[in-house]
Symmetry: C5
Subunit: 352 residues, 5 copies
């Protein structure tokens, strides 16, 4: 449940812009990593406080990666330093919000959700926010994770075009990592559906049904992040801010294509799941039908002849058939006839 409905109740009655961390505390400490780079060099530093973030050299781009959101003092310090509106800061520390994009003039705020498989192999998601400024990008994660390591690597090694491009390209590169990470999750769910499907057509059990249910809930989680993701990327692509350069537009369009693909895949998986439930119900009623047929067959054959046997088990004094010589043989004959007739009837109605 807690993964589907956000807990915000604790904040009622607070004034707007109250920077209160909402959600689980997932990290021990807040860690701030500053990477400053230009076309020729890159420099990475872990700083202890916001004040240590140096003024970037002329022409350099700074990427400030904040991991851990529970210490609102740190977030507020960043807000003061980079002149960010309190409502935006509020959005950053509320980890239950919906993905969105806000163009605030001097900077663009982007909130997304990163989807991953947790230790129990279940679909989980965490909030990742970005502030894109003229020459800087600040990324906020709930705790230390390694999704952005490849980007870091590329900046440090100078591979790829990141170092030659403007700050919005860095935002693209980070968003691209988040979007790309949806695919393994979708694949895992796809595989689970495949396994479930074989179980369903083979020998469905109660466990199958509850797996189906679990998958449906995971699809709800995915849908909740995947659908607004498309809007976020679309807003960025169409954005007419001076912060977004024409040359990066094709890259955002590429991310947009992937976001659409994720939405499509999500819908396809949901379609498949709902189809599977139909199939399950049908095959259940099929089985009941089959069992009923057997039961009816057995009852229909044995009830009449059991009655006949009981009939001649009566202890009436005067029952002439009992004394007949061929009485026993005749009763066996009648029983055989009744059985045969019943079987014929069943075969004619195609129940056998």
């Amino acid at each position: 449940m807690s993964r589907l409905i956000s807990k915000r109740a604790g904040k009622i009655g607070m004034p707007a812009g109250s920077i209160v961390h909402i959600g689980e505390r997932k990290a021990e400490n807040v860690s701030i990593t500053v990477i400053a780079y230009n076309e020729t060099s890159a420099d990475e530093r872990v700083v202890a406080s916001v004040d240590e973030i140096a003024q970037p050299r002329e022409g350099a781009i700074t990427w400030i990666d904040v991991e851990g959101l529970h210490d609102t003092a740190v977030i507020e310090a960043i807000g003061r330093r980079f002149n960010i509106h309190p409502l935006i800061l509020e959005d950053i520390v509320n980890t239950t919000g919906r993905p969105k994009t806000d163009d605030c003039g001097d900077y663009i705020f982007v909130r997304t959700r990163y989807v991953f498989l947790d230790e129990q192999n279940a679909v989980s998601s965490e909030q990742v926010s970005f502030i894109l400024g003229e020459r800087f990008v600040i990324s906020f994660q709930e705790r230390q994770m390694d999704i952005f390591d490849p980007v870091q690597e590329r900046i440090k090694s100078g591979k790829g075009r990141t170092r030659r491009m403007s700050a919005d390209y860095l935002l693209y590169a980070l968003l691209d990592e988040i979007v790309d990470n949806y695919f393994p999750v979708l694949e895992r769910i796809g595989e689970n559906i495949e396994i479930l499907e074989e179980e369903l057509t083979g020998n469905p059990s109660k466990r199958t049904l509850s797996s189906l249910h679990t998958l449906r809930r995971e699809m709800l989680i995915l849908k909740k992040s995947a659908w607004p993701l498309r809007e976020v990327v679309a807003a960025l692509e169409r954005c007419e801010s001076k912060l977004m350069h024409d040359e990066t537009n094709i890259f955002f369009r590429d991310v947009y294509d992937h976001a659409i693909q994720i939405m499509d895949a999500t819908e396809t998986l949901r379609d498949m799941l709902s189809g599977m439930l139909d199939i399950y119900l049908s095959s259940m009623s099929n089985r009941i039908n089959e069992i009923m047929r057997v039961l009816t067959l057995i009852a229909t054959i044995f009830m009449p002849i059991t009655f006949i046997a009981g009939f001649y088990g009566m202890n009436f004094k005067y029952m002439p058939e009992l004394d007949w010589k061929w009485g026993y043989a005749a009763v066996i004959g009648v029983m055989a006839a009744v059985t045969g007739w019943m079987l014929l009837l069943f075969r004619r109605r195609k129940w056998l």
Copy 2:
């Protein structure tokens, strides 16, 4: 029912602008609280009649909070004092209306529904309307409630930015309280769904089904308030009235985000509920299947051997088997064989 379909039948045939209170009378008396404030001071007074509302000092903003809508004379007096169109007054006292926004030039009318849990812990809703003027906000509630207490507190204490801002910011602050109050309701429903889900997968009873039904109806109530809420806030955000200032726009956008989140959560909960009904039906047919299997197993094993026993209970004079020495043993053997064969058949069809 009464909570889902509004009762308006009593008003047929009345001319437009007839100010008739529609809905339950929920308050004893009408209470009018006037709070006048500017950047430096705030002043709260409870007035006995509309005439007592003083002319606000230069530069001050007045918030008039009316609690209780059944006394139409009071509403009409406010209408005359603030020059409000009779149709708007009609909308204020009709407590069954749909949330909406009307830009009437000199003032903006906003009608919303406040959602809360009543004494029976059921979802309930009441109408709250607002009139936003140049330097005043009038709020109309069906009865005395404490939702706006935090705003009142902040004005009196001077905390937050309310006292420094224009009247539309006050409207925002009040709307924000209403929107924020949806979250605990959503959380409560979410928790109930969680509990129900465990019941469903564990040991569903007739009560589970009726809880499911109750939850579905509560979701209908929520949906009826939550969907138009989004429209109301969107209309305010996009509003080009001179009453809405640019600097408050970001706050309304924030409320809008929350309204969308509420709609999203509502839809997610509805999805979950409908999924649960599917699961319930499936698990029911699962159980019927299981029980049928047991019944068929028992019938299929005992019917044939009961027949055999009955057969040799017949009282025919001439039944040679009865006199055989090994007749009894043979019949036991036959019975064992039939039982064994049946069990084998069941196991082969995977019914066991």
Copy 3:
């Protein structure tokens, strides 16, 4: 059926503008009432033919109310007199059409459906059309009804603002009556649903199911009138004709709000009905399940012991147990053991 699909087949092959009455003939005679009024006076006359409609005095507004549409000669005479396009006349006499608005320059044509409960307390609807001209409104009803009596009363008594306003306000007042009459119908359906719901959760019978079905069909009738009603009112509100004055716009917006509310309520009722069918099906499968459990319990307990009894009812000569002293007691013991074991098994599987 006839209430849901309109009968038009009889008109195939006729040229456009053929004024043929389609639908049931509901009135004996056509009755024409002419009400001429201005701010100071009002005058009502029942005229025998269209020619008797007097030229209105300077500044006066004329409301011509036609009741009964089967006499096409009368309709044609009105058409000639007020210069109305034959296609519009065709629309007026075809009582099976869809609600719509047509701005024809000199006049505006509005077709709506009035919804009411007939003698059998079933939802019924009739067509009401309007022609709005510069200084006149013509209303066409299928037969004499009293929906417009309140408006007539207000004009005659001079209460309300009708006499001070232009002709479009009269159209609004009439439309408002039609819209307001939806509410008692919705309330009646809402109450029926409430009753049905109690039956469903209590002791559903075949009659419950057929009531459910009847309600669904009534909702279809309602939906067919309610949805286009919204379009009609929206078209009037947005209409830029010179016939619609700015000061009446707020009134049409008010009707529009009510139309939306009707649509909302219709959808809510439909949602509830479809939810009830789900609940019905679930509770049915619940009951089958319960009954099956009892049947299986009985069969599972009695079949084995009945077999044992039958077994010792066999008449074999050599059955040593029969002669044992404790044979009888032992067999009772075995039966008790089997029953106990079965009950235990059932309890363990939670079937008891």
Copy 4:
């Protein structure tokens, strides 16, 4: 099937504009009728080849009605004569296409489907295309039918306004016939649904289910023609071609209203059908429930007493009850008690 999915496979690999007849050959010969008319006179001729189509007199309008589409040579000749693009000719002879409108500058191409009841009283449809030029209309039908006879009659007799109007009015008149012919089909389906409904609530059989299925497929056929029909007429109404005159616009709007009405009716019928299936399923589970109750009642009453009877049919030597004087009476008493208790239990659970 063939009525729902069009067969086009035979055309793969052909260049664009290959004029190949797709569909069944329904007519023996191609028949071309030419009607030339102006305000004062009308002249009808059946021509043997396209070359015989005379140059129309000054001011006259020519209607060329082609019946039979299998002879592509004729179609090509018409194409050359009236300068029509090969792709349009391809569309004319492909009788499996979707209704559409193409404004090609000098002429407008309209493709619709005519819906009728065939000999087996089943819903069938055929393609009818039109080319509207400055002073001519060409209509293409799959075979000779009499749908356009009323229009022909009106032109020849000079009744109605067709002879006074431009060519687009002729197109309207023809389209109107096609649209009007939907109504009897809808009425027939409506009546069938009514009959089916009575069967369903009365005594549903296997045949009822298959009728339901047939109706659903007919609704699919209708929907496939009715939905694009609306688009076709809407496109014509909004069309800004010089071929469409202002004075005919009101007529196309009228057809548009009818097209909407057809769509509405189609949707209503589909809603009713899907509702009927739900009712069918519910009443089925109702019946199963009822039968199960009877079965359980019988089994629950007779199984225990049959056991008791069997119990005292055992042949143990030592069974003291058998020798008791009141043993027989006592056992009857016990049986009566068990039966009474069971009946009580059933009544209490409301199963009786």
Copy 5:
């Protein structure tokens, strides 16, 4: 599964524009065929490497057909030669993408999926991409197939208008082949549905259900390619690039019509399939009902008389009826009466 969810997981963390082949390797070698043509001549050559692609003569159009996408070196060489953006090259070699159109200024990129029946007669799809330049078209297929053979043939033979038209017409001709190839697949599925339908109404088996399931999945595959196909063609039709000439617009509109028709057919088939599942479930519950009736009939008739027989099989010493002269006859009479009464009851309840 693998056919519905694309595998992209292997690419996480790579920089944008990394040209990595995603999907199965379906061809042995990459084969490049170059066809250069103008109005008077056409020349086809198979080249070994990209460098061999000659500079086209003045006025000629070049069609480069690349079959096999696993060798990224070849794709990169083409990218360098024709100055294509790395992201587009990435899209070409990722064979799991969604159909789309990208207007990149100097060239237009089109990605579609070709649908066909594989060796097992199952629906399969492969990606086909196109680059349309000023005077060239490059087509990329996953492996050698013969879909484009007819176009090749027409170019070489000079038939049709391809050689007289610009490069965008060639793109149209190739797209047209892809679109046309959907129809035989749709027809095959239509036929399968027809067969299944007969099975369903006749004698449904477990196999029927799994066929239904297979068809549903094939419809999902089709839908995934067919829906974006419409968008692709619509984008091309509306495209305002200088590469798209006015005279080819009518051809793209034609392909668009076909794409719509494919979407329509896909939806119709999906509707039919979901209708069939409903029918299946209904007929299943019908059968269960029928079988239950037989079972109940048998049980209800034989249980009471079997009890009576058992009753008089009791061995009580004092059972006066046993000694009566007419006891036996009386008991037979009672049994007959019970049976008759039961049959009457059944007939009255219409269960027989």
